[in-house]
Symmetry: C2
Amino acid sequence: MKGYAIGIDYGTNSCRSLLVDLSDGRELGSKVFPYPSGEAGILTDPADPNVARQNPQDYIDGLVDTITGAISQAKAADSNFNVEKVVGIGVDTTGSTVIPVDASGTPLALDKKFQGNLNAHVWLWKDHTAHAEAAAITEKAAELRPEYLAKCGGTYSSEWWWSKIWRLQKIDPEVFVAAHSFVEHCDYIPALLTGNTDPGALKRGVCSAGHKAMYNAGWGGLPDKEFLTKLDPALADLRDRLFDVAVPANQLAGGLTEKWASKLGLKPGTAVAVGAFDAHMGAVGAGIKEGTLVKILGTSTCDCMVTPNKRELPDIPGLCGIVDGSILPGYYGLEAGQSAVGDIFLWFVNNFVPDSYGETIDEKFANMEAKLAAMKPGATGLLALDWNNGNRTILVDVQLSGLILGQTLHTEAHEIYRALIEATAFGALTIIKRIEDYGVPVNEVINTGGLAVKNETLMQIYADILGKPLKVSASEQTCALGAALFGAAASGRLTLEDAQAKCCQVRERVYEPISENQVIYERLYALYRTLHDAFGTSGWDGRLDRVMKDLIAIRAETRLSS
Amino acid sequence: MKGYAIGIDYGTNSCRSLLVDLSDGRELGSKVFPYPSGEAGILTDPADPNVARQNPQDYIDGLVDTITGAISQAKAADSNFNVEKVVGIGVDTTGSTVIPVDASGTPLALDKKFQGNLNAHVWLWKDHTAHAEAAAITEKAAELRPEYLAKCGGTYSSEWWWSKIWRLQKIDPEVFVAAHSFVEHCDYIPALLTGNTDPGALKRGVCSAGHKAMYNAGWGGLPDKEFLTKLDPALADLRDRLFDVAVPANQLAGGLTEKWASKLGLKPGTAVAVGAFDAHMGAVGAGIKEGTLVKILGTSTCDCMVTPNKRELPDIPGLCGIVDGSILPGYYGLEAGQSAVGDIFLWFVNNFVPDSYGETIDEKFANMEAKLAAMKPGATGLLALDWNNGNRTILVDVQLSGLILGQTLHTEAHEIYRALIEATAFGALTIIKRIEDYGVPVNEVINTGGLAVKNETLMQIYADILGKPLKVSASEQTCALGAALFGAAASGRLTLEDAQAKCCQVRERVYEPISENQVIYERLYALYRTLHDAFGTSGWDGRLDRVMKDLIAIRAETRLSS
C-alpha cells in the first residue's frame, strides 16, 4: 500500500521540509523557510561575538510553512498523491540547541516578559559564551567521572547542553529560575506536534541526550547529582526536572494533535517520531549501515558510523561521541568530524587567490581545480595541516591552527589549494584509522553535502587518500530524507531498515582509489601524521628533519615519472 | 689636493660605473650598461634551466660605455671637475663567475671557434649545472680536508669555482683542454685594464679565491694536488696553471694601459685595484668596520662582518665564508646571507595577494604595509620559516623549504606578509647570534639595498627583532662606491680607512628597537628557533606541542593590551 512521510530539517539559518514516497524515495515536495528573526535567523549581541540565540517562534512558523508548502508541491507534482497516506513525520535539528521552558514546556521566549531577553531565547549550537563552564566541566569530569568524557572525546564543549545551562544560571539567575526545565530543539518540535510538551513527560531523544548531555543508560542516565553538585547545586536540583530516559528516534513521540493536523493539512494521529540531530538523521538518509561511513562534506564535516550494540565496544579516544541508538536503533552511533573543510577552501579562495584565476569565487575554484586535476600526487612538494579551526577529531583541541610547508619561490595558489584538499583528506583518513583501530571496519564511504556533489577533483583525491570506494548520496537533502524515514518507522508501517532500503540511493559515479596514487599518498600521509603528532600531541618524541627533504624527494620522483 | 675615483660594479644583468669625489663622497657621474647578449645578459639553454652563462664581450663593452658615460656626466655636473684628477679605478663583480681563458688570458668565448659554445662562455654565479660536482667535492673534503669546508660553511656549492671547472671538464673536454687556465670575472677586468692578462702572472683577489676556490694562505693557497687528484687528475694538473698567491683588493693590480686610457679618456698609469665581489666592496662602500654588520637587503641578503686578523678566530659553523683580507685588509672577512628575502615577498605578492589590496604590485605592497604597520608584534598569531629558497646561513641546506603556521579562518594576506617579514628578520637574527656566539660582537647594522631604502615598516620590524640600531647607507650604489674607494686606496693617495671616513655616510633616520616590541619578539624568536632547529637540524630532540598554543596565547595578550 502506498505511503508517504515528511521530514523536517531545522538548520542554522532556515528549515526545510521533504515529502517522500516511501515506495521508492521519490521526493515529491520540499519547501525552505528562512528564519525571519535576527541576522539570517540568529540573534546576536554586538558586545559579544560568542552569543548566538534563536527565536522559537521561527521554528513554529517554519513548521507550518514548510509542511503545507511541501504538500501543495506534492499535489501539483503528482495527481495520484494522496495526503491521507502521509503516515509519519520526523524531525531533525541542530544541536546542542537548548530551549529554556516553563513548567508547561512552553519556551520562555514566547512569554512577553522575556521577549527582550536573549538569555531566555534558544541557545543555538554555535553559541560559544559558555567556554569557561565547558572547561570547568571537563576538569571536574576528568577528576571525578572520566567515563563521562570517554564517551565524548575527552573534552566537554562550550556548544553542549550542560555548559549552556550552567552559563545561563551564572549570568541570568532570573531566567534560570523562571526556566522550569530545558529541552533540546529536536525534542521540542515532536513534543509540540503531539501535544506533549510537559518537560517531565515529553519523549527525549537519545541522540541529543547521549552526545551532548552526558546521558548513558549504563551509568543511570544523566550525570549523577553528586557530580552535578560539585559543579553547582543548582544543576543537581535541576536534574529532577529534566529526564530519566532517552530513546532512539525510530520510536513514536506521539500522534499529531487535532490542532496541528488541521494547521498542517494532515490526518490527526499521524505518527511523529522522536527527534534527533541533523547529521545523524542525514547519515540515515544517506543509507548508513554497518561498514559504511557517512560523511557530510561541507564547510565542516560530520562523520557517522554504526556498529552493533551487541558487541563489546571499547571507548575510542578522540571521537566526539559514542551513543547507543543515537543513529540507528540497535547500534552504537559513532560521531566524529573535522571542524573546517569547505571553510578552509573558502578562506583560501577569499583571501589568497589572485584574480588571474578568475573574477568570481566560482571561477577561481574551477580554474584551480582544472590545473590541479592535471597534477600527480606529490608534485606540489607541499604538505598542510587542516587545523585552521582547530581539530575536532581525533585531537579534540581548539587551540590548534593551520600549517603549510614545502613552499618554494615557484609555489602557486592552485598548488596550495591542492595541499589544503589533501590535508583535509588526511584528516579524514586519521578519523577512519582511529575508528578501525578500535575494531570497527570501514568498507566504503557515502558522502553527502555540497563538496561531494560539486567537486569531482576533490572526490578523487579523497578516494586515493582514504583508499576506499567513495559514493555520493543521490539525495541532496539527506537530513530531511532521514527525518522522513524516521517518521515512517515511527508509524510502525515498516522498519527503518526497510525504509532505507527503499529510499536511500547513491549516484552512479563511484570514486575508486587509483593504486599508483595510493602508493604516493601513503608516503605523504606518513609525513602528515608526523606533523599531526608533533604539533598535536604531548607525547610525541620524534624527528622532523626529514620532512622537507622527503617532500622534495617525492616531488622529484613524481616529476621524473611524468 | 682634489681627487676622484671610479668604481665599476658588474651585476647579473648590467654593469654600472660611479665617479666619486674623494673629499666628500659626492657622486658626480654614474652610467648603467645593460648587457646586450642573451636574455637580460644571461645565455640560457632551453634544455636545462640550470645553465646561466655570459658573454665576456659584454663586460668589455660595458667598461667603455659606463666609464666614458660617468666622466661626461661629471663634466656636465661640475665645471671644476678635472678628469686628470681621477686617481684610481676599482672593480667588483658577481661571483664565482668563472671565465675559461687561453694561454694569453683571453676568454675562449672571444675566439670565433667557440662563439657558439655555451660551455666556453663565462659560467655565471647562478649557473647550477655543477650540483653533482659540488656534492662530490663536499663529500671528499669532509673525508680528507675538513678544514677546507670549515671556512666555507660546511658545504661546497655548485655556484663555486671548482664545481664549475670540474663540470666543464666532464661535459666538454674539448673546451676544458682549450682552456689554459680560468679567471674570476673580478680578476679579469683589472688584468685587462692593466695589460696583464697572463693567467700565471695576473693579480688574483683573495676575496674570490678565499670564498670560492678554497684558497687559504694557512694551508698553502689552493687545495693541494693530492686532494685535487682524488677529485680528478685533470684538476690537479690544472692547479699549476692557476695561481699561488691571492691579495686583498686595496692592492694595485697595475696601471691603466695607454690603449685603455685612450679608450676611456683617463690618464695612462691610473691605478687599478685588485678586484673583489660586489657584496664585499658594497660592505666597504657602506662603511663596514669592526662591530658594524653590513646587510645588503635585496631579493636575497648578504651579511658582511670584519674582525681583526691579529686575534684568533675559531671556525664559525654555517657561515658561507671566513677569509683573511676578503673585505678589509688586516681583517678576517666574514660572509653570511639569506637565500631569499625580497624574493619571498615578491613570490607572495605575485601569487597570493588578491586584487582587493590594489591593482599593481606596488599598490599591494603599500596597502599591506599600511595595514600591518598598525598591528602589534604577535597579533597575527602566525609564524613562518624563511626557507622558500633553502637556507644559506647557518644551516647551509638547499633542501629546506618554506613553512607558515598559525593560520585561522580569519587570517588575511597582509598578516601572512607580516609573518614573512618577521621570518626573514628571525633568519637575520640567527646569523647575528651565530657570529656573536663565536666572539664577534655586532654593535650596529648598516643596511643597503632596495628594501632598506623603501620599506620603513620592514626596517622597524627588523630593528625590533634584531635588537640593534639599524642604519641605512646614504649611497644607493654602495658596491660601485666601495669599488671606487678600493681604486683610490690602490693609488696610494690615501688609505682605504681614510677613504671610507670621507665618503661613507648613513641616512639621518636610524631605526631604534622599541623595547616593548622586543619583549614580544624574544618570545616569538624562541618559537621560530624551535621550528628552525626541528626542521633544519638532525640533532634536535624537542617538543612542538606548545608552538601553536603559545602563538595563540601571545596573540591573546597582544589583543588585550591594544
